[in-house]
Structure formats: C-alpha cells, structure tokens
Subunit: 453 residues, 2 copies
C-alpha cells in the first residue's frame, strides 16, 4: 500500500483525489488536507452570488467534504500545512503530528493580489477568491456602504463592479491602464468603458492607486489616487491573483512566472519524482508561444487534476500514463452589463513580444443575420502572423450570442491553423445564428486583406 496526500480540496485537488480513488485499489490511501471547511466550489460563481443571481454559497459547491468522504476519500478540513519536508516526505501541520506521504500533490490554489500600499490591511478592503471572501463582501454590503470602489478591472473586477451597481451601490472602478480589462486590446476596452458608463459605473482609467485612508478604527474611508481621494467605505480588490506557493517555495521546489510551480506534461513538479501539482498554483505552457504562463482558471485546474491523477495512478500501479496536459491558449470569457466579452491567444503586443510579426484587423458585424429581429452588433478583432500566416489570437465584444464564438479560435489555435484555414472552416450558418460568413471568418478575411495590403 501507499499513501497519496493532496494539499488543497478545491477544483484541482478534489479532482486528483476523486480520480485516484476511482482508479486505485482500496489499500492505497488518498488523503486530502483542506485549510478551510469547503471543497470543490465555483470561485467564478462568487460575483453572481454577491449580485443575488445565485441564492447561497451552497449552490456554488459542487461536492461537499461529506460527499467526498462518502466516495472513500480521507478528506480532512480545517487542516493547515505549515511546511513540506521533501527529504523526509513529511508535512508539518499547524495542529497535531506531522503527516508522511509516499506521493504528494500540491493544489494550493491562488490568492488575490494585495499590493503593498499604505493602508492595504484596513477593514473594508476585501479580495474575492474564496467563499469566505464572498461572505465577507456580502456582510459588508449588508452594512449598506455609501461608496464602493473596485480596484482593478480584470474579469473579477468587472463582474464585482456589476454586482455592486446591480445591488444599488454607488460604484467606482479604478484602473491603472488607459482602458478597462487590459487583457483585451484598447479598442475593445473602449467598448467596455462605454458599457460601464451606460450602466452608471464611474470609471477612473489611467489612474494608479497610491494608498488607502483609514479612520481611527482602522476602517477604510477613501482610496488615494495620484493626489486625490476617492471616498470609499468598501473596497474590492480586483487585481488578479498570484499562485499560492510559499509552502512549495520554502521546500525548494522550482517556480516560474508569478511564482507558479513548474511542472511537466504529466503535472509532475520539475525535478521531483514524488510530487505533482495542479490548478491555480502551477504554470502552464502557452500553446501559441511555447512559453510558461500563470493562468488561474478552473478549466485548467480540472484538466490538470485529471492528468496528475492519471500519472500518479500509473506510477503506483507500474503502468504508463495515458494523459498529458498540452497547455493553454489563454481563452477567457465574461458577461458584463450589456456585453459579452471573450479573448484567446495573443494580443498585438503579446504577439510582438513573442517574436511574431502581428497583423491585426477588426470588424463590426452582427450576432445574427442582419435582417432578423433582435440582431445586434459584435466586434471581432483578430491577430495573425505576417510571416507564417499563422493565427495568433482573437477577441470578441458584443451582444448576446457573440462571445462563445471565441471557442472556434481557441480550437484553431490549439490545432495550429493559419488565418487562411479559418476562412475555409465549415462553420454553422442559419439566419437565427449569424450571417453566411461567421463573424470569426469575417475577421479572418479582414486579416488576410490587411496582410495583402
């Protein structure tokens, strides 16, 4: 018999444990150590819970600790690991005796970025990553703040801003970049800025936060920006996340971009034959550039958990692993106010930084046939490489039924298609779904034209 210990019981960790439990004979132990008292929840659903679209935190939980235990997993909640001794193969715990392992899985996730600014630790300055964070925001909202400031306009920042305004709060978004959602091109960001303003959200772009003013009780009263104070009795941090890897770093494990753990295609930690890692704490290969990137997304966590479990089971049972994680193409999507927004692959500057010669084109088209009732505008921006004609990325901002079309481009990127290949794809057409040329093909044709011109 052998013992697998998994640190972390959310998407990646719970997937590893569940898959191992289904695969391994009973004599092998599968233990999950979870800091909190929650497992397998949808962090992405938190803004919708806060907005009131989802009734309770319980609705966001895919599998409770009890359900995991019923499936034969030794799941231990409220257990915090304080150190990994990779030589002794032993974990120090905050309470109680150390726990030894034969094989270890690190699935410690990510944590909201809290910039080192004056006043950052004041009361009323909240991140949104765990269900406890979500509850803290809901509790703060129940005290009816007068002014909410969201710092940062990434996906979580935007979704939280909409949740705040839909609950009736005066809401300001502060963004350092010239346009919101800086992972899309500025021209797409302008469309988002327009939608924010139309929704009554105050947008302060090109604005850097320099600190937070606190009252005598240590509660936030304002966000300081470039010599000006924006009143705020609730501040939500939407600055993204960083890999939660201090444990791994202290144990001397190899880290890459943004502190994320470096793993191979079987999710094995580089340089260790008894440690795997998955989810928001690891770096992934970008399939377009070949570089490592850190992307904290549940979609990757689930796949990586599956791949890690496959590799560990093969290792224990002396088989060969059947799965590999091929990497990511940086696909992301959100709904914000009246807009659907999505992106995949590289933007223009990213493409240039990666050594490509990017050609960018954008088109405005309709989401369904222009002559059908309810047709509305959508903008598609596409990037191709002049030298190889390879497709590099795309971004979509538009009305209903716009954004999911990004998946065509995500699939094409994974397949290494050229811009010309995209033009010739056999994509679905009927008047309630679009025009004869799919919006992504209209964009591809514009890139072809820009390459020729």
């Amino acid at each position: 018999m052998s013992r697998v210990v998994v640190i972390g019981g959310d998407a990646a960790g719970a997937t590893v444990a569940s898959n191992l439990r289904r695969t391994l004979p009973d004599e092998h132990e599968v233990i999950v150590l979870e800091r909190t008292d929650r497992t397998s929840y949808s962090a992405c659903g938190i803004p919708y819970w806060i907005a009131g679209d989802v009734d309770s935190a319980d609705d966001l939980v895919a599998r409770t600790p009890e359900e995991h235990r019923e499936n034969g997993i030794d799941l231990r909640t409220g257990v915090e690991v304080t150190a990994i001794d990779v030589e002794a193969k032993s974990l120090a715990l905050a309470k109680g005796d150390p726990l030894t392992y034969d094989r270890l899985v690190i699935a410690t996730g990510a944590e909201p970025l809290r910039p080192d600014l004056p006043g950052i630790d004041g009361d009323g300055i909240l991140g949104v990553q765990s269900l406890d964070d979500g509850q803290a925001v809901i509790d703060a909202m129940d005290r009816r703040p007068e002014h909410v400031v969201v710092v940062g306009s990434g996906y979580i920042g935007l979704e939280m801003a909409e949740a705040c305004v839909s609950r009736g709060f005066d809401t300001t978004v502060v963004e350092q970049a010239p346009t919101p959602l800086p992972i899309v091109e500025p021209q797409m960001g302008e469309l988002i800025a327009d939608a924010m303003r139309a929704r009554g959200i105050h947008l302060r772009e090109s604005t850097a936060v320099t600190g937070f003013t606190l009252d005598d009780d240590g509660r936030v009263t304002a966000v300081e920006v470039d010599g000006e104070s924006i009143p705020a009795d609730l501040v939500i941090l939407g600055l993204g996340v960083s890999a939660r890897t201090s444990l791994a770093a202290d144990a001397g494990l190899t880290r890459g971009p943004k502190g994320a753990l470096m793993v191979d295609q079987h999710q094995q930690v580089v340089g260790r034959d008894d440690i795997w890692a998955a989810g928001d704490c690891v770096a992934s290969i970008d399939r377009v550039t070949g570089d490592h990137v850190h992307l904290a997304l549940g979609t990757h966590a689930n796949k990586q958990g599956m791949v890690a479990a496959d590799a560990i089971a093969a290792d224990i049972l002396d088989g060969a692993p059947s799965l590999t994680f091929p990497g990511v193409v940086q696909t992301a999507i959100t709904k914000f106010c009246s807009l659907e927004i999505s992106r995949t692959g590289l933007g223009e500057q990213q493409a240039r930084d990666a050594g490509f010669d990017p050609v960018v084109a954008s088109v405005v088209t309709t989401n369904i046939a222009g002559y059908m009732p309810g047709s509305a505008e959508m903008t598609v921006l596409m990037v191709g490489d002049r030298t190889t004609r390879r497709l590099l990325g795309a971004q979509i901002v538009g009305a209903e039924d716009a954004a999911l079309r990004i998946d065509v481009i995500g699939t094409a990127l994974a397949s290494g298609l050229t811009i010309d290949d995209v033009v010739m794809l056999d994509l679905a057409y009927a008047p309630p779904f679009g025009s004869t040329w799919s919006p992504v093909q209209v964009a591809a044709r514009a890139v072809v034209k820009a390459m020729a011109g």
Copy 2:
C-alpha cells in the same frame, strides 16, 4: 481581353463575378446570366419571411442586380441558358443570339426535390427554394388554407412547419423516417419530435407519401400515405434539393453524387480547363471521409465562389491561384420551436459506412452553469473512431446558447483532432456561459469512457 460568363447570379455566381471584377483589369468582361430577376439573396431566410419575422423579400436580398451593375458587372436578368456548347465555347439562350465565352462559370444552384408521385404537379404543392417560391407560399397562405401538410422534415421542412403553425395554420409534417430530421441520430430526433408535438404540430413519422389527391380544378385536397388520406389544401415540399445540372449534363460535363458537378480544389470542372463551377450545383470533398458529397449551403457557395474567382483571375493574368477549397465537414444548424439543433461530421451509420469503427456517447448537460438563473438542458452526442481515436462528428439539441457550440467540433474535424485532443482544448468558461467543462468536452469524455469500457 477575355470574357468570363457566369451562369447564375445568386450566392456563388455573384461572388465569382464580384471578386473577378475587383481583381481583373477593366478590359476583361464579366457577364452574369440570371434566369430570374433577383440576385444574391438569402434562400435560408425564406422561412422567416414566410413566418413574418422578416418584413419583405427585399430584406433577404444582399445585393440587387442594379447594385451589381454599379460595381461594373454586366449582369443580365431574365436570361435563360438552354445549352452549353463546350467545343464552340458558346451558350444557347432561350431568347436571342448565342453568347460566346472564353471562360465559363456554372453556378446554376439547386432545385427542390419533387418526387415522381401521382398528383405531384397539382396546384398548391410548393417547394421553397427561390424568392418566387416564397412569394407563392405567402400567396397560398393569404387564401387561408385549412390544412397545411409539410412533406419531409429536413431543415427547410422543420422551419416551414414552424412558420405555418406560427401563422396559425393546422400543420402536419409527414416524414418517411422513424424520427424527424433524419440527418441527426434517432435519439436526437426524438427530442425534436417532442418539441414538434409541444408546439401543436402533427407529426406522422415512419410514413411514406404515395401521392396527392387533386380536385377537378387540379388543386390538391389530400396527401395520400400508406392507404390513408391526410386532408391538405396546401402542401409544402421539404424533401431537400438536387443539384440543378441538366445543362451541364447535356454538355457532357462530369457529375458525381446526386448529379452534382465534379470539381477540383480550385473549383475547376474535372476534365475542362475553361470551365469552373461553384455553389449548390457542385459536389464537395467531405474532409472526414475523403468522399464527395452534395451539400447545398450558402456558406460553401460563398467560399467556392471566392476560390473559383481566384483561380480564374490567376488563369487570365498568368499567375498562380492562392486559394483552395478544402472541403466540408457537413456542419448544419437550425432553430426549431423551443430548440436549437446542430450537427457536424458523421453520425454512427455514416461512420460505419465510411469504414470507421464508431463509438457513440451522448450526455445531457446544461447550457450555462446549473446554479445560474435560466439554465436549461442540452444534449450532446459525439462519435469517435475506436481504432484511431479520431473525432468523427457531433450533434447538439438544446435550449438557447446550445447549438453554436458545434463550431468547436467543426473546427476540430477540419484539424483532424482526436477525441482526447477535444477533452484538452482550452475552451471559454464563465458561469453565464456554461460549466467548467464545456458541453462538447463532457461529451468527449463520455466517448473516452465508452472507448475504455
């Protein structure tokens, strides 16, 4: 100077002519001969015009004859070609002198199948392919028929049935196969049958039409099926179309499946160096099987027209063509009653016929995250090859935001991905758009499981 003559001014023909006119110096003539007085219209929009969703036939016209002429095309309407003399390079016309060409494009389209049954030529038995056909149906509806029978339940049959019932007519659909829309698997057809009945459409499945009863004035009064009469004072034929290639056949040109013209990757008619063809009258390569198929769809017509124009311009200007038409994967989509329906690639029997060893799995999942308001069911069926693990096809039936996801599979088929590749695609996820695993990936995982089990 040289003269290109295009027979047919709808999607394919007009695309060839427009692209040639943009590319060729003015001294080269581009002449389009169109039988009717309409050009460049959306035949797919006709059911929506008949249903009243679209105001008028004019809304379905992308470019009028006059607009084509303003673009420098010598577009002649009401001109019917009666014979092609490929040796003399001359076209006989119904009226007037023959017209010679240097290069010929055949874009004669398709025509509704009219089975050779007793009474088929009776008044009130209408196909739906051209705008004139659509007007005839609208005129017939203005006479308030008591009973409408739609024969066949392909896409047009379904869309017409919905148009009829939405305009308040008693509507029956007669389908020879055991379930409606036989190009999807029977289990998907059952879902469509349920939706038909819920919408109040009478469905007669496994029912073969044997003829039509006409009154003394030659008007239809009933559809005869297996010894029973279904009363009908308006019959709509939804039996699909065949390539309109009698002219080409008479000229001795090579035809393939369903009489469609055989062309190479540059849309040049096999065996002729001065004749090209595009659109509903040609056969295309199926990229999954490598076989030729006949698929009459505007999406292919536009691309083939573009490819033909590219090849002809290269021929005239002594250049090399830059485009090829890679073929189709049989993607199709429709909205019917409460359902969105789509398919691509091969069904189980098609896969078996093509020599694959198909493994089929289907899953029921939700269109958006299950905990979000408005989430609804969708069914995804997927087919993979046991031997090579290659993806072969998929079908989707579901609520809003379901069917367009087929484009991921269409793209994956064009790229030759395996089922395992589909599982690892980086597809968009946020709660308003789905669950962490995209529905198509849930289906792919089910196929993987079925292959293992």
